[in-house]
Every structure is written in structure tokens, then in C-alpha cells.
């Protein structure tokens, strides 16, 4: 069996963590060929070639792949699909945009957010906001899968797979890029951070979110948020943790002023250690917390920042 793995590349740079975790998951399925796609993709391809378990890296460099648009990348993957039993990617917003399109073009179902590999046809994935785990067996000739990276350990580096340039596929030309609004940050990336400090509606304002950020910066942590905090404009959309946001499983997750709705828990309950700080002792977040502190975050969070 042979696996084609779409590397996570943004503006020419490889998301090493997400890609290496996907390689680890994919290695159970067969020989792994990585596909590096972008306006510039060579450097990223070279980096992906060092991931242990990768046997070859295909490099498709072309201006049409510049902004991760779904249609051209899906067309490219479909043109290569004949050689592979599995087409996989990390479950990022980019891959979730592209892979279902690939699957439908191949007339197969897609398996998204897969958390476990039973065998080459059988996979586990959470449903109902993680309240149930379904094991499904695919009857399709080609399996198209996105892996939830938070549940796999990254493959090691030290390999040296060969690079091979491939030509671009035809561009369906249905969409064009206009602009990106990306916040620059020195903090670790949310889905791969060792520690995440999250704030909820209880934080009360964008201004007051600084107390959450100060604790995060002291701990070298990433910052997360509940949907209520994002909807209220306290935090940007890409900080949302949950069923319909990012899924994280850090060593330590500190939830501040978050009630613990199932949709939020879906995105963080596999964290190793969970701390909850909430002034309401009845808050459901305490049911999943390893350490709960009933306190006002405006006192407890700055105090903690001073003591860690």
C-alpha cells in the first residue's frame, strides 16, 4: 500500500509538527510519499524529506499554488491519485478545505479528524463533539483521510528522502486570493504548544485579555479562547478552541473564566493536565479539571503570573 501525504505548507514554510505527526499516523498504512505544494515549496520539501518514514517527496512549485486555494491543489492531488491507496493530510483548515473536494472527485467518502488507525481500511474518529468515538471501515478503493494531529506523536527527523519535481496540474481558475489577515506572534503555535492558557467570556474585554496573555508569556505558552470570548471580540477567531475550532492536547491547559460547555471540552479534554480557574464552583469545567480553583480570575491570574 502506498500513501500520498499533503504536507502543511504556508507561504513556503513547512508546519513541521503537523506534518511529522501525520507521517507517524500514515506510516502505519504503507510507504509514505510527501507532496509539497506551493508557489515556493523547495525548502519546505527539503525539510519534510528529513522526517523519518518518508520515502520520497514530490515538489510542485507553481504560482497557482501560492495561496492554498482548494481547487488547483485538489486538481493536482487527483492527477496523482492513481498510484496511491491512501491520500492523507493533517486536519488543518487548509487540508479540510482540500481533501473532501479530492474525495468527491474520486467518488469516495472522506474520513476527517481521524484519531486512530485500526488497519488499512478501519479508522477511529470522534463524533458528537467527542462524546462518542466511532470506528468505521471504508469500502472505497482510495481512502482519503485527515488526521487529528493532537492524538499522534511526531515522527522523528534524521531521514533523507529524495526530492522529485513534478509539473503543475491544470488550474480550474475558479477562485483567486485577495488578502490575508494574519497576526504576527512570537508565541508558540496553538495546536503544538506544550502549555495553553485560555480565556473565556469571564475575561470580559479585549483589554482584560492581557492578563491571560501575560500568564501565557510568562509560561512560554500559546493563548486560546472559548467561542464566547471570540464572538465577543476579546480574542481573534484563530484562538478558538473546541468542536468547531482548534483541537489541542498540551501538557498543561489552563482555562480561565470558561464554563466548560461540551463544545469547548471537545477541543481540550485530551490535555495531559487541566487547570480551571472560575468563580462559580458549579462550573462544569471543574468536572474535567485535574486542579480546580474557585477564584476571581482578575485576582488569581495575575497572582499566578507573579508566582510561576
Amino acid at each position: 500500500m502506498a500513501v500520498l501525504l499533503l504536507a502543511e505548507i504556508t507561504d513556503g514554510s513547512l508546519a513541521m509538527d503537523a506534518t511529522a505527526k501525520t507521517v507517524a499516523a500514515a506510516s502505519k498504512l504503507g510507504d509514505v510519499t510527501v507532496l509539497a505544494v506551493g508557489a515556493t515549496a523547495k525548502d519546505a520539501a527539503g525539510e519534510a524529506a528529513t522526517i523519518e518514514g518518508v520515502s520520497k517527496v514530490l515538489v510542485a512549485e507553481d504560482a497557482i499554488y501560492g495561496h492554498r486555494l482548494a481547487e488547483p491543489t485538489a486538481a493536482l492531488i487527483v492527477s496523482l491519485a492513481g498510484d496511491y491507496s491512501h491520500i492523507v493530510a493533517p486536519a488543518t483548515t487548509d487540508a479540510k478545505n482540500i481533501l473532501p473536494r479530492v474525495a468527491a472527485l474520486l467518488d469516495v467518502m472522506v474520513l476527517t479528524d481521524v484519531t486512530g488507525v485500526v488497519d488499512g481500511d478501519t479508522f477511529e474518529r470522534p463524533i458528537y463533539a467527542g462524546n462518542a468515538i466511532q470506528t468505521v471501515k471504508s469500502k472505497d478503493a482510495t481512502k482519503v483521510i485527515t488526521f487529528r494531529t493532537s492524538t499522534f506523536d511526531a515522527a522523528a527527523t534524521g531521514g533523507s528522502a529524495a526530492l522529485e519535481d513534478i509539473a503543475a496540474a491544470e488550474n480550474p481558475g475558479l477562485s483567486e486570493w485577495v488578502s490575508d489577515k494574519v497576526a504576527e506572534s512570537d508565541r508558540p503555535e496553538l495546536t503544538s504548544a506544550k502549555i495553553v492558557v485560555s480565556g473565556g467570556r469571564g475575561v470580559g474585554s479585549e483589554e482584560d485579555f492581557k492578563i491571560i496573555e501575560a500568564l501565557a508569556d510568562k509560561l512560554g505558552a500559546a493563548v486560546g479562547a472559548s467561542r464566547a470570548a471570540v464572538d465577543s471580540g476579546f480574542a481573534p477567531n484563530d484562538w478558538q478552541v473546541g468542536q468547531t475550532g482548534k483541537v489541542v492536547a498540551p501538557e498543561l491547559y489552563i482555562a480561565c473564566g470558561i464554563s466548560g460547555a461540551i463544545q469547548h471540552l471537545a477541543g481540550m479534554k485530551d490535555s495531559k493536565v487541566i487547570v480551571a480557574i472560575n468563580k462559580d464552583e458549579e462550573a462544569p469545567i471543574f468536572q474535567v479539571a485535574d486542579y480546580g480553583l474557585v477564584a476571581d480570575i482578575f485576582e488569581a491570574v495575575p497572582e499566578m503570573t507573579g508566582k510561576v
Binding site: 468527491a104 472522506v110 468515538i133 466511532q134 471504508s138 477567531n237 485535574d290 486542579y291 474557585v294
Partner: protein
């Protein structure tokens, strides 16, 4: 321009999900069902386009058990003009896969020729996040998933998308498929007079056979299990105690 909005009937987001003891699935008998929250956002967006004079008609379509009619009536009460019910399952526990849903929707698109299809980004029951992208593939249309903002222009639409790194804005040629994210809008509630009026709006009933689509699943559900439980934690009395515990266990 017509706007087509697929709406799915799903377990209400407030309901506590129970996995059946025999591992055959989740118990949906006598459970409160509602419109998938992302689809409410999609219906709202379509109605706003009509109110702004950019859409001529809003058509809602649902595929599933006959009770999905209630979901369609809700959409009609919000302001959609007419509905199509595709009865494709007898048992509420039968979930029609996104590939089959997309094939049926592609057939509806062929008949109705909408300028825009607005789907939810994800159904909160199967959490697949696939149908919109699959429909785009089958129709050969452009796709703009996870919409945070939508501007419809002449022959194109500009969509701001919620992506992992922040927001990405793209321009798509119409007809196109857009999927909604949480921040696109805040859906309205249907008023009582509109709920009454909705009962008289047209609702067409169809079957997958009418569209020549085979809805047999590609994925066989082997088993459905409860997730691993977390061990009970402890309450601490102060920040000092919290920090001490975290240091003790190596978490800090």
C-alpha cells in the same frame, strides 16, 4: 439569482449525547432535534441577501428522515421561500453520508440553477465538515469554506474565511459553494406569524431515486464507543497551592 441552502436535522446542541450500550450508535430516540446551528447561519445569510435585493429566491433542502420536514418549516419561518424534502431514510439513526448528500444536492443544483449555495461548515452530529467541498467538486464550482464575511457582486463573491492563521479573503466566480462559520451572522428567530405563514409555503417531496442517486454508505460503522473518562481531579484553595501542585507533578 436563486440561493440554495441545505439544512440538516441534528441532535440539539444542548442535549447530552448517550452512546447506546450495544455500541451500535448514539441514542436518538425521543431526543430533541434542531436545525444544525451552522445551517441556521446559512439560512440567515441567504435571507439577508434576498432582503438586500441580491437574491431572488431562497430554497432550502434537507435530506434524511421525513421528520426533517420540521427543520425545513423552521427555515421557511425564518424567511426562506420554498423547501425540498428528500426522504432518504426511515430510521432516525440512519445518517446519509456527505458524498451521497452532495450527489443529491448536485442534482438539485442542476434543476434549480442557483447562483450560490450556502451550506454549514460542519454538521454537529457527524462532525465531518465535508459536504460543501464535495458539492463544489461534483458541480465543478468554486468553493469558499468557513465564511466569516460574504459580499456578493456581479458574477463573483468575495469571502473572508476563518483559517488556522487568521483570516483569508478570496474571490470566487459564481455560481459557487460557500460554507458558514460561526461569526458570519447571528441568525434571527422566527416570529409566531411567520411560523403560521410558513405552514403554507411550498414543500416539495422527493426521493434519492428521483435524482438517480444511490445513498448506500461507503463507510461501515463497526462500533460506537464512549470516550475515555478523565480521572477525578482535586480542588485547591489558593494560587500558592495550585502552583505547588503543578510543580510537584512536573506540569510546570
Amino acid at each position: 439569482m436563486k440561493v440554495l441552502v441545505p439544512v440538516k436535522r441534528v441532535i440539539d446542541y444542548n442535549v447530552k449525547v448517550r452512546v447506546k450500550a450495544d455500541g451500535s450508535g448514539v441514542d436518538l430516540a425521543n431526543v430533541k432535534m434542531s436545525m444544525n446551528p451552522f445551517d441556521e447561519i446559512a439560512v440567515e445569510e441567504a435571507i439577508r441577501l434576498k432582503e438586500a435585493g441580491k437574491a431572488s429566491e431562497v430554497i432550502v433542502v434537507s435530506i434524511g428522515v421525513k421528520q426533517s420536514q420540521e427543520t425545513l418549516r423552521t427555515a421557511l419561518a425564518m424567511g426562506a421561500d420554498r423547501a425540498i424534502l428528500v426522504t432518504a431514510a426511515e430510521d432516525v439513526h440512519t445518517d446519509i453520508e456527505p458524498l451521497a448528500v452532495a450527489k443529491i444536492l448536485a442534482a438539485v443544483v442542476k434543476e434549480e440553477e442557483p447562483g450560490l449555495v450556502i451550506c454549514g461548515k460542519q454538521a454537529i452530529d457527524n462532525d465531518l465538515n465535508a459536504t460543501g467541498q464535495m458539492l463544489a467538486a461534483l458541480t465543478g464550482f468554486a468553493q469558499a469554506t468557513n465564511a466569516n464575511n460574504l459580499e456578493v457582486e456581479e458574477g463573483s463573491a468575495t469571502v473572508a474565511r476563518e483559517v488556522d492563521g487568521g483570516l483569508q479573503t478570496i474571490k470566487v466566480t459564481l455560481p459557487a459553494i460557500v460554507t458558514t462559520d460561526l461569526r458570519l451572522n447571528e441568525p434571527r428567530y422566527a416570529s409566531l406569524p411567520n411560523i403560521m405563514k410558513a405552514k403554507k409555503k411550498p414543500l416539495d417531496e422527493k426521493t434519492p431515486e428521483d435524482f438517480g442517486v444511490d445513498v448506500a454508505p461507503r463507510l461501515e460503522v463497526v462500533t460506537t464507543a464512549e470516550p475515555a473518562e478523565r480521572a477525578a481531579g482535586v480542588m485547591v484553595g489558593s494560587v500558592d497551592e495550585l502552583v505547588a501542585k503543578l510543580k510537584e507533578t512536573g506540569a510546570l
